[in-house]
């Protein structure tokens, strides 16, 4: 048990990523405001970046920009950073599209609250069944 905790504490960036991920999921699950759900998704994406870039780290490593004057330097893994650059572009695309859809929903229903929208939809359906 003690060894387990010491390993968890030594891997503290992963714990930090887990905490951010949990905050993101909590935001998505408990808030019915659609903008807050988008913010939660973005927090979760940020936790993924932290996890990947921490996995590529080396103790005493420097940023992977070649220094010709000092051949003995240790560089961190450049691949996770490049992959996360791709991930940021995808996350921006997802955020832009979901914000546009929320704007559309607001114009249609007059609210950005998911529960309100569900209520309006069920009322519309009940009225349609009565006719």
């Amino acid at each position: 048990m003690g060894e387990l905790w010491s390993r968890v504490l030594q891997n503290y960036p992963y714990v930090f990523a887990l905490a951010l991920f949990a905050i993101g999921i909590y935001t998505i699950l408990t808030h019915s405001n659609l903008f807050k759900k988008v913010i939660g998704i973005n927090i979760m994406e940020g936790s993924t970046y932290i996890l990947f870039i921490a996995a590529g780290n080396v103790r005493g490593g420097v940023a992977p920009i070649l220094d010709m004057g000092d051949p003995g330097l240790v560089y961190v893994h450049p691949l996770p950073q490049a992959l996360m650059l791709t991930g940021i572009v995808v996350s921006v695309s997802v955020t832009a599209l979901s914000l546009a859809l929320i704007t559309k929903l607001y114009r249609f229903y007059g609210t950005v609250d998911a529960k309100e929208i569900m209520k309006i939809r069920s009322e519309v359906r009940a009225n349609a069944g009565r006719d």
Binding site: L4, W5, R7, V8, Q10, N11, Y12, P13, Y14, V15, L18, A22, I25, Y26, L29, T30, A54, A55, G56, N57, V58, R59, G61, P64, I65, L66, M68, V74, Y75, H77, P78, L79, P80, Q81, A82, L85, T86, V89, V90, V92, S93, V94, A96, L97, A100, L101, T103, K104, R107, F108
Partner: protein, 97 residues
């Protein structure tokens, strides 16, 4: 009430992931599986292969150039979708002004 359910769910997930974190290779140690010949190859070959001092730029623009090219397609698709969604005059179903 749903607040408590969410917290209970997250605690369950958190315990399992913490156990997984304890099994991960130690943070920053140079002999993790992530620090294999791939990193070595990129760090040693980036300058002679691509002529770029910045290895991240070398990977994004040279080694994985097709990835970046298709990525711009993703961005383009997202922008087109945003413009389609936000197009004026389609606020009501089947009613085009």
């Amino acid at each position: 009430m749903s607040n408590k359910i969410a917290i209970a769910l997250l605690v369950c997930i958190g315990v399992v992931v913490l156990l997984a974190i304890s099994e991960l290779p130690l943070y920053g140690s140079p002999d993790t599986p992530a620090q294999n010949y791939v990193a070595e190859r990129y760090i040693e070959g980036a300058l002679s292969d691509t002529g770029a001092l910045n290895m991240v730029a070398a990977i994004v623009i040279d080694y994985r150039a097709y990835d970046t090219l298709i990525e711009t397609t993703v961005l383009f698709t997202a922008i087109i979708a945003v413009f389609l969604v936000l197009k004026k005059g389609t606020d009501r179903k089947g009613e085009h002004k």
